[in-house]
């Protein structure tokens, strides 16, 4: 057991899976000698060599399509896209082939690959380095979309993603890469893809969030408890698709009041799907309109203004209070 950052925890997962299974390979831009621009793949090339840790040419569609080919042959590639903002040209390969080859071939061919990429704002980056566009991936039949929130669940979810027989988009909250440390066990640990987690129990309000939004959400829950005596039940989705609606619909039946927090733009974002499921499955229990605290429907501004775009503790707290105050 050691206290690790998310970067170190993901590195540990890669390290252990590569050691355990020689079919696991890592590829991407600068992932080898440089160890990745965020150092997530640091040291892998030294231990496993350049045949299994491939520095690729600078071509995102190439990385995805090349990984698909490897996966078709039986390898388990973990491909890195340097920033999610550059993944859109890889999207075509993932949508047209990774997501479809199992179905198209009737199960003869499968694509057990992981496409990792850092997403989200808050690190004072250039344009195209701060988006949160998980909805594109989550909307695609045949893909799984996973977004961890802490070092420990990033590690266990990545191990599960690597072992998953289907393609997994692994969206890493770069704002949380080094923001805090957590105890991560040395021995291997997995976490089921498609399962959310109740990280804080409460009876007054259900708050659903994921990824980098977990930190302001939990901080807001503390503040609501401290200032207002409100008990929030906080659910970390962990997997966006396939969406686990069992836990949050059950929680809604207990609290009757719901808040969804995401950093992605509001319209057609994951919140829209979450709330629809709530309405479909827990409608009669709802005591107030379901609210969303999200990014705005704009391009996230450069770093002087990015925190005006990103949901923060204050926006979450005030939306929670409005939800709690609502009377029919």
């Amino acid at each position: 057991m050691a206290k690790l950052t998310m970067v170190q925890a993901i590195n540990l997962a890669l390290h252990q899976e590569m050691k355990k299974d020689e079919d696991v390979v890592v590829l991407g831009e600068d992932v080898g000698v440089d160890g990745g621009v965020f150092r997530v793949t640091d040291g892998l090339i030294d231990e496993f060599g350049e045949e299994r840790v491939m520095d690729t040419p600078l071509a995102e569609s190439g990385i995805a399509g090349f990984a698909i080919g490897m996966a078709l042959y039986g390898l388990k590639p973990v491909a890195e896209i340097q920033f999610s903002g550059f993944a859109y040209i890889a999207f075509h390969q993932m949508e047209a082939h990774a997501a479809r080859l199992r179905g198209r071939s009737g199960g003869r061919f499968t694509v057990p690959m992981v496409l990792r990429m850092p997403y989200g704002g808050g690190v004072r980056a250039l344009e195209h380095h701060s988006e949160s566009r998980e909805a594109y991936w989550a909307h695609t039949p045949g893909l799984k979309t996973v977004i961890p929130s802490t070092p420990r669940n990033a590690r266990s979810l990545l191990v599960s993603a690597i072992r998953d027989p289907d393609p997994v988009i692994f969206y890493e909250p770069k704002a949380s890469y080094r923001a805090f440390k957590e105890e991560v066990p040395d021995e291997e640990e997995t976490f089921p893809i498609g399962e959310s987690q109740i990280v804080r129990e409460g009876d007054d309000l259900t708050v659903i969030a994921y990824g980098a939004m977990m930190r302001p959400t939990l901080e807001a829950a503390d503040k609501l408890k401290e200032d207002d005596g409100i008990d929030c039940e906080v659910i970390d989705l962990l997997t966006i698709s396939p969406l686990d609606d069992a836990k949050f619909t059950k929680s809604a039946q207990k609290t009757g009041r719901i808040l969804v927090v995401h950093e992605a733009p509001r319209s057609f974002g994951p919140g829209a799907e979450i709330i629809t499921r709530l309405v479909e499955k827990s409608f009669v229990y709802l005591e107030a309109p379901v609210r969303r605290v999200t990014g705005y429907d704009v391009v996230i501004p450069l770093y002087q203004r990015e925190f005006d775009y990103l949901p923060g503790v204050d926006r979450i707290v005030s939306a929670a209070r409005e939800t709690l105050d609502f009377k029919a």
């Binding site: 569609s61 190439g62 698909i68 490897m70 078709l72 075509h92 198209r104 009737g106 396939p242």
Partner: protein, 360 residues
């Protein structure tokens, strides 16, 4: 001297072995045993006749849109004839004859074009990818497959097909670049059939040959007469041997011609002249191959007639088999299968709801 010609590692050759009249250049004639030559001839003829049959089925509304191969029999069969069973075929959507050579049942081809997903399903253990529709995207898969073969220490080869139009797509360039950098056992076969729907070859790229694009990626490239089965075979054999020996990828441009429509939804009269098509008729790949086989005393008019009748029966049987299969495919819930290895709860809910609509 501050300015001089740069000597590149590779030159671009043009290879022709059987001329349009079927005369062979015996210095270049590849060593193919007689049975193999006859198999190749049979496959070309079957490919042509099956294509004609499918066109009729499409015109009478029995199957949907498909991409005919007429005129391109040599350029695809000459290439796949060099593969071993364990090698991988990565097709685009105009390699029906090559797919049949590699074992795809004609009734499955018909099933797929008649709008049944089941037609594209691949039996376990068969290394032929299904048809890939988005132009050029499949090239990258052949490079990844090749890399995996190499990593696993296998002496296998992945052969990918695409057309002249695909060479304008980024994925083809990324694939060639990756193949060059990682020296994968990949054979790129570009069937340059001169037309990408209505865009003619000269408007697709200013490049004098398509083969020369290989030079930019540090791999050998060759232009072969794509209507000459021997030239395609010889070029592909060299490429396959090179890949199998661990000496990396090769790019082959097969210069051929799309005698028919792009797909059955296309009307070529809008963009090309009958005279051009007539000119290419003289370069028919089957005519000249038959002349060659006759000169070698491997084939006679009587034998061709007998073969035509045999092929007719085989296609007839396939059509019957396909009609029977269609009648048997009554389960409509297949769309929910194989989305994932395990069906997630929300999909199971949707499947159940769909089943209710069927029974109500």
């Amino acid at each position: 001297m501050p300015r001089k010609k740069i000597d590149l590692k590779y030159d671009i050759d043009y290879l022709s072995i059987l001329d349009k009249d079927g005369e062979v250049d015996s210095d270049l004639e590849p060593d193919i045993d007689d049975d193999r030559l006859l198999d190749l001839h049979r496959a070309m003829l079957l490919g042509r006749r099956f294509d004609e049959r499918m066109l009729k089925l499409q015109r009478s509304g029995k199957i949907g849109t498909f991409a005919p191969i007429h005129g391109q029999e040599a350029s695809q069969l000459g290439a796949v004839a060099c593969l071993e069973e364990e090698d991988w075929l990565v097709p685009s959507f105009r390699e029906t004859a090559a797919e049949i050579w590699r074992g795809k049942a004609m009734e499955n081809v018909l099933l797929a074009y008649a709008g049944f997903n089941e037609g594209a399903h691949v039996p376990k253990g068969v290394n032929n990818l299904p048809v890939s529709v988005p132009v050029g995207t499949q090239a990258l898969h052949a490079v990844g497959i090749g890399y995996a073969m190499k990593l696993k220490g296998k002496k296998e080869v992945a052969m990918v097909f695409f057309g002249d139009g695909a060479t304008s797509e980024g994925d083809v360039h990324e694939a060639m670049n990756f193949a060059g950098v990682f020296q994968t056992p990949t054979v790129f076969i570009c069937q340059n059939n001169h037309w990408a729907i209505s865009i003619k070859r000269s408007h697709q790229t200013r490049s004098e040959t398509i083969a020369q694009k290989a030079l930019a990626y540090g791999m050998p490239g060759i232009q072969a007469d794509g209507n000459d089965a021997l030239a395609v075979y010889a070029a592909a054999k060299e490429a396959v041997d090179r890949a199998r020996a661990g000496d990396g990828p090769t790019f082959i441009e097969c210069v051929t011609y799309r005698m028919s429509v792009h797909t059955t939804a296309d009307d070529p009269k809008r963009y090309r002249s009958d005279e051009e098509v007539e000119k290419w008729k003289e370069r028919d790949p089957i005519d000249r191959f038959q002349k060659y086989l006759k000169d070698k005393d491997l084939l006679s008019d009587d034998a061709i007639e007998a073969l035509e009748s045999e092929i007719k029966d085989e296609i007839k049987a396939a059509v019957k088999g396909w009609e029977k299969r269609m009648a048997e495919l009554t389960d409509k819930t297949g769309m929910f299968d194989n989305v994932f290895a395990e069906m997630p709860p929300y999909l199971a809910e949707q499947k159940e709801a769909f089943e209710k609509t069927l029974s109500s």
